[in-house]
């Protein structure tokens, strides 16, 4: 049967993409970020997940406001690399897992009443790819895991509530556990942490809030899930509301999940957090 073996919460700052592509990861300004992922990758090599479910948001590469899904699940064998306005990165196509996607769609819609939009064609961009770059570096053979995109509307209010995102994670866990094949799965919650990218408050960060969020995610996620969009945006910046996607990751783990790694680095305009749990 399917089993969730780990969860990762991490920021998906777009500037990380070109830093990887141009081999700048060891520059002093970036080294503290990339060094934090060395033990994470070693840990993942021990866990040997077959599939990563990546909870992310699109930034106008493949979803537009003509039609904007609240939750959308990739249900394809492959996902293309998207162009979000800066060109298409030279990365291998992402291999999906149709059987697992199909099972998740059935279980989430029939059993758990999450009426997802199902996507047979989905081009993924930095929200999805930067976490993959950090945790599952690709080689000439492609990516070391199959991956399933789960997109969340975190940009056009009304957004799903934190509570709803957490419950989606819980449903995801139950759905994975009823998958008949032996499959080890890691869930990644991406985005955040504190940042604001518009208005006079551009560049706002709040390390105190971010550290509190990391602590609560570990210690009392049920309570953290009741945080409102207003509270997140006031305390951590308008774009920090992406953090509700970390709640889906946490909901997919057992309440007793053990925290393994934790890191924080805020060089420019985004609090770049990292936290991992072993289920």
């Amino acid at each position: 049967m399917g089993r969730i073996v780990g969860g990762i919460g991490l920021s998906h700052v777009p500037s990380i993409g070109p830093v990887v592509d141009r081999g700048r990861t060891q520059e002093p300004a970036w080294k503290p970020l990339f060094d934090a992922y060395v033990p994470v990758r070693e840990w993942l090599q021990r866990l040997k997940p077959d599939v990563a479910i990546v909870v992310y948001n699109d930034h106008g590469a493949d979803f537009t406001f003509d039609k904007y899904p609240t939750f959308a699940l990739g249900v394809a064998e492959h996902y293309a690399i998207g162009d979000e306005g800066f060109g298409t990165r030279s990365l291998p196509v992402v291999e999906g897992d149709f059987e697992l996607s199909n099972h998740l769609a059935q279980a989430l819609i029939y059993e758990h009443e999450f009426d997802l939009t199902l996507c047979q064609e989905l081009a993924v961009e930095h929200g999805f790819l930067v976490p993959m770059n950090l945790c599952f570096p690709h080689s000439t053979n492609g990516w070391p895991v199959r991956a399933i995109p789960l997109a969340v509307n975190v940009i056009q209010h009304p957004l799903p509530t934190g509570q709803r995102c957490y419950r989606l994670g819980q449903a995801l866990r139950a759905a994975v556990e009823s998958f008949p094949e032996d499959s080890k799965i890691v869930v990644m919650g991406t985005g955040g942490m504190s940042h604001q990218l518009q208005g006079k408050r551009f560049g706002f960060m709040n390390e105190k809030f971010d550290q509190w969020f990391l602590g609560q995610l570990e210690a009392d996620p049920e309570r953290l899930a009741r945080i409102t969009h207003q509270e997140i945006m006031e305390q951590a910046g308008a774009e920090a509301v992406e953090l509700i996607m970390w709640l889906t990751m946490r909901g997919a783990l057992s309440p007793q999940a053990r925290r393994v790694h934790r890191n924080y680095y805020a060089p420019m305009t985004t609090g770049m957090g990292l936290i991992t749990f072993e289920a």
């Binding site: 777009p14 003509d66 979000e84 056009q156 209010h157 009304p158 560049g203």
Partner: protein, 117 residues
């Protein structure tokens, strides 16, 4: 209802459905810039490019003036606005400096590690 967003946040534009509706034409223009051919078309003839999206004269003027704060207030989503930034050679941090009313160097001086760009 309404408990998620309870009131205005200082110096912040909340991109809600009403604002998205207002900015729909602008956001469609931005979304078109997700292809190299369309970016070339924008660079070749900005006026001709804008004329395809039924923008008001005021909206066109915001793009001509590279008024990023004005574009946000007119309903352009920040992540869509970045595509105009890219095609006009105005990266996120330059855009941000303008929105803060600072020069690029003044903005960079407020950052912890200014090399992380």
């Amino acid at each position: 209802m309404g408990q998620q967003l309870t009131g205005p946040i200082a110096d912040t534009t909340v991109f809600d459905l009403r604002l998205s509706r207002r900015g729909q034409r602008l956001n469609k223009l931005c979304a078109a810039l997700c292809s190299p051919q369309e970016r070339d078309a924008f660079k070749r003839d900005e006026e001709a490019f804008m004329s395809r999206f039924a923008l008001t004269e005021a909206e066109k003027e915001l793009i001509r003036r590279r008024d990023f704060e004005g574009l946000i207030e007119a309903g352009t989503n920040i992540y869509f606005l970045l595509k105009i930034g890219s095609v006009t050679g105005t990266g996120l941090y330059k855009m941000g400096a303008q929105m803060r009313g600072e020069s690029y160097d003044e903005f960079l001086a407020t950052r912890h590690i200014r090399g992380a760009v």
